[in-house]
Symmetry: C2
Subunit: 309 residues, 2 copies
DNA sequence: TTGTATGCGTTATCAG
DNA sequence: CTGATAACGCATACAA
């Protein structure tokens, strides 16, 4: 690959002039400018990004750490993020992690001059204290200053409203394990019920961890009756369908299921379920703004769209 | 972030000595070694990767370009690749592309000193001529010297054997559009039939492009009878189930479906279909070897495992 | 308007 | 065994 010296030699100007022409051509004689451009063409010269990074102080790379638990999940953000960041000439450095330790290791490995910033996506585990240049997307218990999280209370409430307005009043909830997010979900769930004067039945609330299947089995076994079910994501929805199928409960005829995070709508899915979805492009935009710093600081909470099945 | 100068100052040695200690500590007095190590600890020093890249000639980054058509597909290789490459301190630079032009653009954008090598995954479109440092994985019509592709003929034959041994003799094929791969699939399909003396019926072979749904509709409408179906991937399988469901054909009771690429087994999938699967870890290993050059050159064709539903 | 010189952080060469 | 010093490729302040 040709470098700036080759170009300057061929164009009979100095490296500085070449550099000037290529980055904001201010104050260069048209003649030299053309010479440089011609040489660039001839040599098919492209500035070396590594050298640019070292000289400037920015690499143009952003580390993206995907939590693996809900991978099907996190992975769906990737195309939207990549598209958005590419527009701004930013590259994505990909890592996966399945624990807080994994995230820390990824961060320290990426944070050695390679990245200008980092994004953690979809972590369901407790996160360590993080640097200011780390943006958290869809992470539970986001401890950082920069985070984009979902309004789970609002989502749960909306889901209840939807199901109840479709004639389902006995609503079960397959919630996250104890934590801020679970409380938010529960809050929204109760608000949704209250609005329609549906009494709250704690037996209808179960925890998806360690296993959604077991939780649902326990729920069914308990004899508590329900004709609607709120789940936390599409994967859980599938599990639920599968379990309930085994119990001869037809979805959505006898039992309506709604997902509180409808990301990752699987192509050619057999039965499209209603869900609360979060717009991927908007999300990517916000993440970019947080990273480039054009945005006001502070965590951001976004509300999802109700999408009927 | 502390740099090598800070360390050398604190340890009262030169930069060179610091560098020596950190990379293969050959010929350094134990005393200085300890001093350096102490300083490194104290300052939490980690060598800047960008500077290392500029100085050495390798960035330790590998570009990964995922074809977007069968994204659900390509994206599934990512975790395995990342895991494998991370072991060798290689980072993954992620891009998506949906056309040959997109791939070219990605390659030229990544090929400016950022990457040592590149991988293209899952391209179903015609690929341009590519540099030697590009490895093609699961790409149709792989034109490069380095490629890992699947033995489609073998897969198709295996699929036929499986279905026929399960009492399905009228096998339809939802094939790729014209091309080398489609021919291979067709070859395997015919071989599988021949083995069991099942006559070949060309009406049972349809093309999945531009739309698997339409192709299947046409197939059903044609009146040709079939009780088994070979599809090219899980997404197509889902589409097929959906279409056939509409025609009141139950899967897998009346009709058995097998996928020739069972990657991306969806979690909690309702009905696990039989499929030919390609081992992701092996694949990632091979890709790594091709890139690090420890492997004999030339394209590699691998055969998939039959996994019953 | 242009060229020179210096810095970015590291590795490697070569004297000492 | 160690320390200066020259690359690596580019950007930029400064001088002309």
């Amino acid at each position: 690959m040709a470098n700036i010296n080759d170009v300057s030699r061929l164009a009979r100007v100095s490296k500085a002039t070449v550099s000037r022409v290529l980055s904001g051509n201010r104050g260069v004689r048209e003649e030299s400018r053309q010479a440089v451009l011609k040489a660039v063409q001839a040599l098919n010269y492209q500035p070396n990004l590594i050298a640019q990074s070292l000289s400037g102080q920015s690499t143009g790379c952003v580390g993206v750490i995907c939590a693996m638990e809900s991978m099907q999940h996190a992975v769906n953000y990737l195309p939207a993020l990549e598209k958005q960041f590419r527009r701004h000439n930013k590259h994505l450095l990909l890592r996966f992690a399945d624990s807080a330790a994994g995230v820390e290791s990824a961060i320290s490995s990426l944070g050695r001059g390679l990245c200008d910033a980092m994004i953690v996506i979809g972590a369901r585990f407790e996160l360590p204290k993080l640097d200011g240049s780390v943006v958290l997307i869809d992470c539970l218990n986001a401890p950082g200053a920069y985070s984009i999280s979902f309004d789970h209370a609002f989502a749960a409430e909306t889901a209840c409203q939807y199901l109840i307005s479709h004639g389902r009043r006995q609503l079960a909830l397959l919630n996250y394990p104890d934590g801020e997010t679970a409380e938010n979900v529960l809050h929204g769930y109760r608000r949704g019920l209250e609005y329609h004067l549906v009494p709250y039945n704690r037996r209808l609330v179960v925890c998806r961890d360690p296993s959604p299947r077991v939780a649902l089995q326990a729920l069914v076994n308990s004899g508590a009756r329900f004709n609607g079910l709120l789940v936390m994501n599409q994967a859980d929805a599938r599990e639920a369908i599968s379990v309930l199928h085994a119990y001869r409960r037809a979805v959505p005829d006898q039992l309506a299921i709604i997902s509180l995070d409808g990301a990752a709508p699987l192509p050619g899915s057999l039965l499209p379920l209603p869900a609360i979805e979060y717009p991927l492009e908007k999300l990517a935009e916000q993440a970019l703004e947080m990273i480039t710093g054009h945005s006001g600081t502070g965590p951001l909470v976004i509300r999802g769209d109700l999408v009927a099945g």
